[in-house]
Symmetry: C2
Subunit: 347 residues, 2 copies
DNA sequence: CCTTTTAGTTGGAACGTTCCAATTTCGTCA
DNA sequence: TGACGAAATTGGAACGTTCCAACTAAAAGG
């Protein structure tokens, strides 16, 4: 088997019709007689025909492929994002080309080029760190619909879907302040990203409006990973005037911070309040359950895919920047448990 | 811009050569004169030409696409596996079609069909739960090289790359026994998978060779997730005769078990020994650092991709079942810390 | 009975590339 | 100078599909 490819012509011969008719059947056209359709379908099954989408694309000059490029697939935030995209893209009859850049601009350039060569009809990109508008210029000039997710790039002239990072950070820090914290740190993340900048801005604004200290020593960068969280909290605990709470760049950092606290025999949520950002799946089941700003990566992926599909169908659409709202999910790690216990005692 | 596609003929006209010559340049053939090559390349840049790989594939009847289908991309084990595949596949000049089945057979059927239609030249599959040899029969009959990873399927007649689950479990449980544990549970995982079966077999063999109780009540299944781990340890703690240690189906379960222990005010690694399976990235940085059986998902992805590429290049290769070795990484969660402390005291 | 309509079917050109065999160009040698 | 071989270039067919305009057969209308 697998000797020679079975094509429409073979099917046509077997079914005693022309290749045009077979093509019509393949596309479910109503123009073809019920009886012939049955004959053709029988022949298709019989010969084990496989549709050649490449040939079809060549003729029609459009593919049913959309590309998604993410900067770090090992980060479960992006993995979930990809899953969200996949879900809607698949049910729209498209198929997903996924590539991982690992934050490398060069790799990103390569994979985008490769996707264009394969004729993707749209692209969802979570850009690598340091991507500039110029890097995307040839792509957008080609007229392929592009949606940027998570990280926006100023002046790129394409649609983007980001979350309201400033508002999320603001809400989180306000919450910590309400709980009575006066010295609050911001831990983790690379300082040269727009996301970091926005979250820190929200953090500072909340401190300022409460008239609290927003000195630079309280903002401690690190890799946006669990390991980075450990080092960040260690650094924070070296400070003369130690913080009693922290907003973390993301959930991975927050978990690392909890690890670091435990390593110092401190109980996260009890001795120190920590809030994360993103609300990855593990946040709910962790102990203590992580208070975090919910971003819903899967939902973001879905919305990005919908936006892209809309642009593909519309042919040409205005670039729009959507910032999706975000909400604080209060669980245990910010000290909710303490309060509950205090209430129990007083009642 | 983006009006009309520029093709080789446009380039040919602009450079004053024939389309055949342009094609030769595109493929880096040594047959073409240095001067003409330069002219052609200039025209390519000038007109912003993008290569149409679809058309090329049509002519050559082979693509540079490999497909990878995973059963759960939100599980970081599989995300890392995909990253490993991506790395070697990309550097071999291929591009990766990734699809997520979410453990659904029907979806798996669809994505495999879609990939065949797109003419992938090989497929790496981590099959959904319950996949049978019959499900893959048409695929293997077509002669497309296929490599199964993580989960093997008996009688499928294709190559597979799995890890030595029995040996890993055996080593882990032996280690717990050496540490003095006598009542050891196996927690988490779905009982109807080959992986579960192999790990439990290793677990039982270790108990048996030490003459210990291997009763069924100590094997407690659950979803192979963090949440599943929480419920599994809860169930274990309800037993008349409680275990003092557990081997977990995977790291996610192990983290859940730690969470569950903490919820009961028990200190994992101290009051109860836990060992995971897989060695995901977080295992090292967690507190306590997780003792686990290292499977190196990224490395597995790389090896699977290499195996697949070899088969693609060889044209026709014997199906081989590779089981890759596995090693126990001892960290804190199995009580290593306790021992260290005992040593400190005695010295 | 002829014309018109409708339902169904069909051959051939086209999509953008690669491959093959054929051709041109050019330098070298007798 | 003519012949020869090597180097470089080329036109056309082919890949598997879709689209279009043209065709046939049968039914409907006059």
């Amino acid at each position: 088997m697998a000797k020679e490819r079975v094509t429409v012509v073979d099917i046509a011969r077997a079914a005693g019709v022309s290749k045009s008719t077979v093509s019509l059947v393949l596309q479910g056209s109503p123009l073809v007689n019920e009886a012939t359709r049955a004959k053709v379908n029988a022949a298709i099954r019989e010969l084990g025909y496989v549709y050649n989408r490449g040939a079809a694309n060549l003729r029609q000059a459009k593919s049913k492929i959309i590309g998604i490029v993410v900067n770090d697939l090992t980060n479960s935030f992006f993995a979930e994002l990809a899953v969200g995209v996949d879900a809607v893209v698949q049910s729209a009859g498209f198929v997903q080309f996924l590539a991982n850049t690992g934050e490398k601009i060069e790799r990103q350039r390569e994979v985008i080029a490769s996707m264009r060569e394969h004729g993707v009809s749209g692209l969802i990109i979570s850009p690598a760190r340091g991507t500039e508008a110029a890097d995307l210029a040839p792509l957008v000039a080609s007229g392929i619909p592009v949606v940027l997710v998570v990280r926006d790039i100023a002046g790129a002239g394409v649609s983007s879907l980001t979350s309201d990072n400033r508002a999320g950070a603001l809400a989180a820090v306000r919450h910590l302040i309400e709980r009575g914290h006066r010295r609050i740190a911001f831990l983790g993340g690379f300082a040269d990203t727009a996301v970091f900048e926005a979250r820190v801005r929200g953090y500072r604004d909340a401190l300022r409006e409460a008239g609290l200290d927003a000195s630079d020593e309280l903002v401690i960068g690190s890799a946006p990973s669990r390991a980075g969280g450990v080092t960040a909290i260690e650094q924070a605990m070296m400070l003369e005037d130690r913080p009693t709470a922290a907003l973390c760049f993301n959930d991975a950092v927050a978990f690392g911070v909890c690890d670091g606290l435990r390593a110092r025999r401190l109980d996260p949520g009890q001795d120190f309040a920590v809030i994360g950002f993103d609300d990855v799946i593990e946040a709910k089941t962790a102990v203590p359950a992580l208070t975090t700003v919910s971003v819903d990566p899967q939902g973001m992926g879905e919305r990005a895919a919908e936006l892209l599909l809309k642009q593909i169908n519309a042919g040409r659409a205005e670039a729009q920047a959507i910032v999706s709202p975000v909400r604080l999910v209060v669980r245990q790690s910010c000290g909710a448990a303490i309060e509950r216990r205090l209430k129990e005692i007083s009642s």
